[in-house]
């Protein structure tokens, strides 16, 4: 399955009237610059018409949609969709996104598993006092009913990793119609997922894929009741004042190791947290805080990460991400610029390793910071890049703030209580848990359903 594939896959827009092959098509290239797909880009008019059709569309009954999502999970994991077998799909994603193929395959399995439990997941977000239906007997004496805040949901998807695509189908489980704008960097996963959902029974006006150019992107949000946007600091700022848009910004996940624990017992967890899943996720560890001397840990971490081979992304043993050489060079220059003044343990002279076909492996980088509040600790990059800083009780909470996940390897329960109470930390894992650990039914950055649903009082005679 690793034989080079020279054929170009058409990725049509999936509008309310079915697939549409646009005149305006974008060449999606792999990490070596070879064209892999032709993505149909639709104009604002097409987006407007699709969003209008989605507003008019019906919502399938709850059990029906859960059944369809379950069937879609099966198809996503096993079927040939848009001419791509699961293996061919994984190959394309690895070549285009640069994500190691074993990670793509594991993620595809994980997406299917999460889809099968979509109903179970969203159910956890329902306030315990609220019931599902207005005609629940409890509403006779007055009760909260859990209802959608809108009907049409738009997603500006991420392209860093296929994983985030397991989240938005929860909106379908809740009865939303969903329009997804794929990222040019990896449109295969959302195309496959929407195709699977349609094959499983969702109507063309109930789930759509609307690839657009940058200037048209806002048409999706404008046409939807609520939206979800992945992006960097700039995107978070842009939508900060818009209550109808939920942003998923930088993760800046961290690990804290306090003095009473021996980091040697946790080295596997640390290495995996930094580099697992290709090290490109928002749940990969960006900064490591160590109470005591960070140097021995840096040395051990650097040694482990240095031993990982540089391989093309479609190699089953690949572990690090790959990018086109130009992108890799820009990232390297950015890293070296940011790292000035820090103590390099790995990648101090650069972290890219050319594969000779126009692409380069983004190898791991380990840098030691001299103080807990060094600004580098917030620099999150799309490859295994970790900043290791000393931490003290006096430094306290501030350097640990703004974390999607914080793994605290500590026996200090009071500190744990403070971390759990800290509003800017989304998830706290205590002890030997990788920062990328996730489970159906548990919130990732809060429950998506917290954003999509509300409670309404209903009483009746």
């Amino acid at each position: 399955m690793n034989a080079p594939r020279s054929d170009v896959v058409p990725l049509d827009a999936l509008g309310a009237r079915g697939p549409y092959r646009a005149h305006n098509r974008l060449a999606v290239t792999d990490v070596a610059g070879q064209e892999s797909a032709e993505l149909s880009l639709v104009p604002p008019l097409f987006v407007d018409q699709t969003m209008k059709a989605m507003h008019r569309a019906a919502t399938p009954a709850p059990d029906e949609r859960i059944g369809m999502i379950g069937r879609a999970a099966e198809l996503f994991a096993t079927a040939t969709l848009n001419g791509l077998t699961p293996d061919a799909y994984a190959y394309r994603v690895s070549r285009v996104g640069g994500t190691p193929i074993s990670v793509v395959q594991a993620t595809a399995t994980a997406i299917a598993a999460r889809l099968r439990k979509a109903h179970y997941s969203v159910e956890h977000a329902r306030p315990t006092g609220a019931v599902h239906r207005w005609d629940d007997p409890l509403t006779r004496t007055g009760r909260a009913v859990w209802v959608r805040s809108g009907n049409v949901f738009a997603v500006h998807a991420a392209g860093n990793h296929p994983g985030p695509h397991s989240l938005w189908p929860e909106a379908l489980a809740l009865g939303y119609r969903v329009a997804v704008r794929p990222s040019r960097r990896e449109p295969f996963t959302p195309h496959r997922l929407v195709t699977a959902l349609r094959a499983a029974g969702f109507g063309d006006d109930q789930v759509a894929l609307l690839p657009t150019d940058h200037t048209t992107a806002d048409a999706l949000l404008r046409g939807a009741d609520l939206g979800l946007v992945y992006g960097g600091e700039d995107v978070v700022r842009k939508y900060a004042s818009d209550p109808s848009v939920l942003t998923q910004g930088p993760g800046r996940s961290k690990i804290l190791l306090t003095r009473e624990v021996d980091w040697r017992e946790h080295l596997d967890t640390i290495v995996d947290s930094v580099s697992g899943h290709g090290g490109t996720g928002c749940v990969n560890t960006t900064a490591l805080f160590v109470e005591g001397d960070p140097a021995p840990l840096c040395a051990a971490l650097a040694e482990r990460l240095a031993a990982v081979p540089s391989l093309p992304p479609e190699d089953p043993a690949a572990a690090f991400p790959v990018q086109p050489l130009a992108t890799a060079k820009a990232l390297e220059a950015h890293l070296l610029h940011q790292a000035s003044g820090t103590r390099p343990w790995l990648g101090g002279e650069g972290m890219l390793d050319e594969l000779g076909d126009g692409s380069a492996v983004l190898r791991a980088a380990v840098h030691q910071l001299d103080r807990p509040d060094a600004p580098q600790a917030a620099v999150e990059l799309p490859f295994p890049c970790v900043w290791v800083a000393p931490w003290t009780r006096e430094a306290g909470l501030p350097p640990l703030r703004n974390s999607l996940v914080l793994t605290a390897v500590t026996h200090d329960d009071r500190l744990v209580a403070e971390l759990v109470e800290e509003p800017s930390i989304s998830n706290v894992y205590v002890g030997n848990h990788r920062t990328y650990w996730m489970e159906s039914g548990l919130p990732h950055d809060g429950y998506l359903a917290e954003f999509l649903m509300r409670c309404k009082s209903v009483i009746r005679d």
Binding site: L45, F46, Q49, A158, H214, G232, P250, C282, E380
Partner: protein, 365 residues
Amino acid sequence: MSRAATEVLDLPLDIPPEPDELIRAAMAWHFGPTGSPFWLERAKSLPFDPLTDIRTHDDLTLFPNVAAELRDVRTQDLIPRGYGQTPDVVGVFESGGTTGAPKRVVLLRDWLERMLHWSNLNLDAHGFERGVDWLGLVPSGPHIVGEYFRRSAATHGRHGFTLDLDPRWVKKLIAAGRRADADAYAEHLVDQAAFVLRTQDIGVLTITPPLLERIARRDDLTELVNEKVRAIRWGGTQLDPDSRYLYKTEIFPDVVLCGNYGSTMILGFAGERPGLPDDAGCVFDPYSPYVTFSVVNPETLRPVGYGDRGRVLVHHVSKSFFLPNNLERDTATRIEPLAGHTGDAVADIAAVTTFENENVIEGVY
């Protein structure tokens, strides 16, 4: 100068001049005593003599591009003296003003009528019904398109309904990042159009693609257009082939859709070639041989191959005005002209696609 030398500039409306004869007549007119003060003065610094050295249409490329000078020149100096003491001036018009100060041109009656005659025939060829009422959502004030709207409505249709549209203000808002204000202005325009659409018998809608998109966004207005409007004439900005297809097949399936590619500097516009398939981009033919295009490599100014992209170079050669070699900011695909036409037809104008910002490298998304 003999009368015969320039009479080819005054041929009856339905008789097209022979292209090279037109050029020689225009040189005699614009560079003889009948010429405008602007050109007579400008001719002194030309390295050739237009009266003897410019014999054919191809020779026009010897001229420098003087379009930028139209920002500062006295407009009175643009009128050929041959029109006498009381030239029939329809108005003074200005370019969009996208790139700094606007350029000015003078529209004279004889050219307006020639252009209208040609353009009305183009509308007939597209199946526009004569004698209906028109509604125009097009720039007003100093923009020539507003004048052409009124005159087209009056000659091809019956009444023309207008509104105020200031494109420069919209450009300023967008440049300043005030997207919401630009949106509010556009919605204000559509609101005004809605009053006319609801109450009047509008048979032809003249509109820019971004505003047509806003009309299509509103179900009630889409319905009104489908109910009343028999033809839509668009222009001002481009309509991509995918949107065009959607209008023609889904949104306004029974309405004639016809585009213009206009420019103040050609004192008019090129019309959509009739009979193009629904699922294709628009091809525009200019009013040859008075207005001609060539699609060129912007560095060498040599024509690109048919089917290749380049910058649009325009010539305007009429009795009322002479502006050769004006390099427009638009890019287009070079298309073979219709039989008997001079220069190129153009398609796929402008439309530069950007996807997302490649420079942002921090973060994982």
